[in-house]
Every structure is written in C-alpha cells, then in structure tokens.
Subunit: 334 residues, 2 copies
Amino acid sequence: MKSLSIKDIALKANVSITTVSFIINGKAKEKSISEAVIKKVEKIIIESGYKPNQIARSLRTGNSNIIGLIVEDISNSFFSKVARLIEDKAYKKGYKIIYSSTENSVEKAKELINMFKSRKVDAYIISPVAGIEDDIKLLLNDNKPVILFDRNLPGVDTNYVGANHFTATYQSIESFIKEGKKNIALVTTDVSVQQIIERFDGYKQALTDFKLPYNENLVLKIPFGQAEEETISNIKELFKNNKIDAVLFATNYLAISGLKAVKQINKTIGKDLSVIAYDDHEAFELHTPLISAVQQPLEEIAETVIKLILNQLSSKTKLANQQVIIPAKLISRN
Amino acid sequence: MKSLSIKDIALKANVSITTVSFIINGKAKEKSISEAVIKKVEKIIIESGYKPNQIARSLRTGNSNIIGLIVEDISNSFFSKVARLIEDKAYKKGYKIIYSSTENSVEKAKELINMFKSRKVDAYIISPVAGIEDDIKLLLNDNKPVILFDRNLPGVDTNYVGANHFTATYQSIESFIKEGKKNIALVTTDVSVQQIIERFDGYKQALTDFKLPYNENLVLKIPFGQAEEETISNIKELFKNNKIDAVLFATNYLAISGLKAVKQINKTIGKDLSVIAYDDHEAFELHTPLISAVQQPLEEIAETVIKLILNQLSSKTKLANQQVIIPAKLISRN
DNA sequence: CTGAAAGCGCTTACAG
DNA sequence: CTGAAAGCGCTTACAG
C-alpha cells in the first residue's frame, strides 16, 4: 500500500500541487486561494487521511521540526526526567524530540551529532563530554542553535543552562561542617566534565574556607561505567577509614551504591555518618533514615532550555548567547 | 556554511555522482569501479569530512535505518532502562532509535505513530495503549515490522514480547498466602492495558485457587497520571482497613508512593504488612526492611525485541508473527 | 569500467 | 486566483 502523495490529492481535487501545498502550509489566504478551493482540498485531505511526507519536506526546506537531545545516559533518572519534561514542552510547541545517550564516550557523542546533523535537526540540546568542542563549533557555524545543559564546555561560546553545582556542593559541605563534622569524604566519578569538576571545587573550597585540611585519601573517584559491585567494594574500602564522619556523593547513582555499601558495614547513618547525595532520587525519600539531597530544579532547567531554543529558532538574527545558572537546593532531611 | 553534497565530491574527484554513490554504499566492487578511482574518491571523502544527507537518502530509498520506540513514559525507570538496552543493541547493528512517550494518551500515541510514519522509520517498537489498533494495522499493511512489548493488544496480529505478568502476579499472591496472609490488597492503575489486566487476573486467580474470597474493597485503582500526594492519600485511606496484612503494588511507582504512605501511618512492614512491588527499583534494595519485587528480565526483553526486528528487516518475505513470553521472577528479599 | 538521467515528494519563485 | 517548473541530495536502472 503506497501512501498518498501531494500529487494524488491534487489529482483528486483537480488543482495543481502548488495549490495543495499552499493550503497544507496555511498559506492559502496569503496566496489568495479561493474559499471554495480551500474547502474542497481540505475535505479531500481529511477524507483520504493524507499526511505530508516530512522527509521530502525536510529535504526541500532544510529543517525538520525536530530537536536533537543528547544526554549522558537516558537510564539515569536525572536525565530521563529532564528529557521527559523537555519532550512535553517541545511537543506543545510543535517540535518533536529525538534523544540518544553518549555514555560519556567521545566517539559516540560525535557519531550522534553527525547522525542528527544528517537528519537536519533544527536544534541541539547536549549534555556534552570533553572532546566534542570542534563538532559543536561546526554546528554553530551552521547557524544551528546549540544549548548545552547540565555541564558547560569551556572553550565553546554558546548557550548553557545548568545548576550552580559549585555553590550547592559548597553549601552541602558547609552544612556538614556546621554539624561539627571533621572528616568529610567525597565520592565522585573520574569523568572530567564541568559539573563534576565544579562539585569537586565546591568541596575543596568549603574545606579551605572553614579551615579544614584537604585530604586526598577522603576523595574517591569511581571509574564511569564500572560494575556496581566494584563500586560498592571501593566505597567499603574508603569507609575502612573510621574517621570519616560525613560523605557527599557527587551523583545519585553513586549515592545508591554508597548506601548499599554502608548497609554491609557497621556504620550507622545519622549517628556515625552524615550523608548528602547530589541529585535527588526516590530511594532517598524512602530510606531509613531519610537521606538529604541536592535537588536540581528539573522543571526550571527544562523550561529554560526550551525557551532559549524557541527564541533562537524564531529569531531571524543571531541572538546573544546566554549562560543561565539556576540555583540547586540542598534538601535537608535530617 | 553549506554542507558538502555528493556533487561536490564528484566534482573534486572528477568522476560522476553515480561513481561516488557506488563507492559510498560499498557497491564499488560489485559495479567494478577501478581501485584507483575508489582510493581517490575515498581520500577526498575523508579529507573533506563529507557525510551523505540521510534525508535525501531516505526520500529516495524509503527507509531510514531508524527504529521508532514508543513507550508509556520515558521517565519511568522500567522504560528508560529497556530503552537504553534497546538503543545499545540497535546501535551496534547500525540502527538508531528515536523514542517518545505516550503518557497513555490515545491521541498522543496516534500522533507519534504518524510522526514516525512520516519520517519513514523502518520499524516500530511500541508499548501500546488500547485504541490504536487501527493505526497499528495500517503500519502492518505497509509491511513495516511492529513489535509490541510490555503489553499486548488483543485483536492485533503482530509480534509481541513481554513478561508473563499473570504468572508472576499469581506467584506473588501465592507467596503471601503461604506466609499465612489472609487479606491481600492490590494497588494498581486504572488504565486498561493488557499487562495491568493480566496482573489483576493473576491476583484474582490466586485468591480463587487458594480459596480466599475476592474482596473488591481490597483493590485500589489509582488514576494514571494523578499527582503523587493524591495517590499517597488514597493508599493511606486503603490502609485504614486494619485487616490488610499484605499488599501487591502493580507498578514500581505505585509501590514507591505506597511505601511513603506506610511511613506516615502506624503499620510496620514485615510485621503487620508484607509488600511486593511489580517491577524492581533501586529504592527497594535500600529500603529498611528490604522490599521484595517482581523483576522483569530487561536485558532479555530488549534482546528479543531487537532480534525480532532485525530478523524481519533482513528478511525479504513476511515472517510469521511471534509471541514471546518471558518469565518474570519474584525476588524475595524477606 | 563509468556516466547521464529519472525520480523520491515536497516548496517556492516566477509567470500569467 | 492558480499552475508549470526547478531544485533539495540522493540511488539506481539503463546504456555504452
């Protein structure tokens, strides 16, 4: 069953394909097509269930009404939640989202950008990895809107939306210190992306400002993508240092592994050990005791990303780049 | 900056676009292009960074190397995990995945199918809602592979991959009964999709087989998409019935709301109340006490879906439809 | 061993 | 008020 083309509709309606095209694209008035013809053609379109071939349209116009979204890992709840919000908001404006995960691999990120490019997506929303700066610059040369989110890419001059990771981390450490904690550990990942670096810097700065020594034995960097059992055992190893009285986990999945690790050793959260997780998760609201977490305002991030994109898509001239930093909030559940 | 076209490459190499096209598509040998020309053209392609326009290619060939994946809600961890696995496996075979969420809305599901159709995706993986039977039949008429997953659609004759929801639920209820539980509640959703119905049926059948009365006051149907506070308060209301000594949650997000509800009332899980959640979640492994869950084999589901799709895409003839039922496993954490 | 040309289904500048 | 025709960037049957 071949699907209908604009030619079939034109034939049935006894008009040219030009006329049909104008009507489909809402340019009938502007092109002064008569009411009668409009009605006739619209009726045929509805009855036949004709849907324009978007591929042909894209080839001709060079755009697609599709926005490409590249995240680190769609199965991470932070990303899947933001993705869902972005999808909803874009959908309401007539844009579709297609997404893919980079797994923090430079090669996969480059491939995804190329795939999106060859599909002529209208705009890009990317949580980047270091190493794709040049690919992003090419997109910008092409005049495509690019919004980085979650983490910035130093050296690329484009739009960015992200939480204030440094401040949120700083405040987390500060809250530990105010509780009287002295040996504060940080469990983070080994990927060197902006938001992880900011979290690390916030940790160090808070220690310095409050005159606590920075001790690198209290910092554990977990290789990205490592099997969870390994991570748990690394964390148990860290906790062999009995002095540790507080720990900040730089991502929610590390916190989950960390909580599992704590279950297996003789430390009691709340009494021996204070815990804060960066990025909230359902598990933390259910844990006994409750686990404090830094919440990024997902809704606001999604909203801002979409707003920036739509502004640029609807503007004929190149807009100034914006760096929108949104405060993240420490939710204390003690 | 216009991007390069095949014409530019042909021009630079001093050959026809036909020749370039053959080389790009690996048909050089078959078309007996000379080694020298192949080398020359390949060199130019690499140096120039030329990437074929997939839109043009799709328009011409009618396919896209893209598989459309339609899930209920990408921010639900069951779907985001399966999506990620499917993405990985498809990617390795040269297929890209684009996904979208239906939110259990018939209209949105139809729109998504139309969008995918007009983008000429090669195959569809769909966790369907009732009401899109005709749209799916149109795809099948079009000879596009369609794999339903997670839930089947009675009345549509196509491929299906899903867990044995009935049996897994039955076994869960059976395990409650063997613990000596007498008043077993079910918290489920009001959407009438196959997998939810199967879970309900498994619940009822187990009661019947073990000579327990079916009491509809023990069944709570939560409206899909309802705000969580509302759900929690519905569940607290249910638990006002003090006789309830066990509860099965038909989805993991309902279980999470349920666990929050239990925290707010004076029931103790393990002592007063046994709990099983359908679909596992990180939170259950961290909860005190641990929460038992029915685990669907995500990896196997993703693997099977992709295998079915690739088989069909590579086969010239129409293959027989397959219904693959994969056992789900009750993970007892008591 | 290689190329000219048709055609996929649209949009749009131009003409009347 | 409406249409014929070019062209977006490819693939492929056909010809030589």
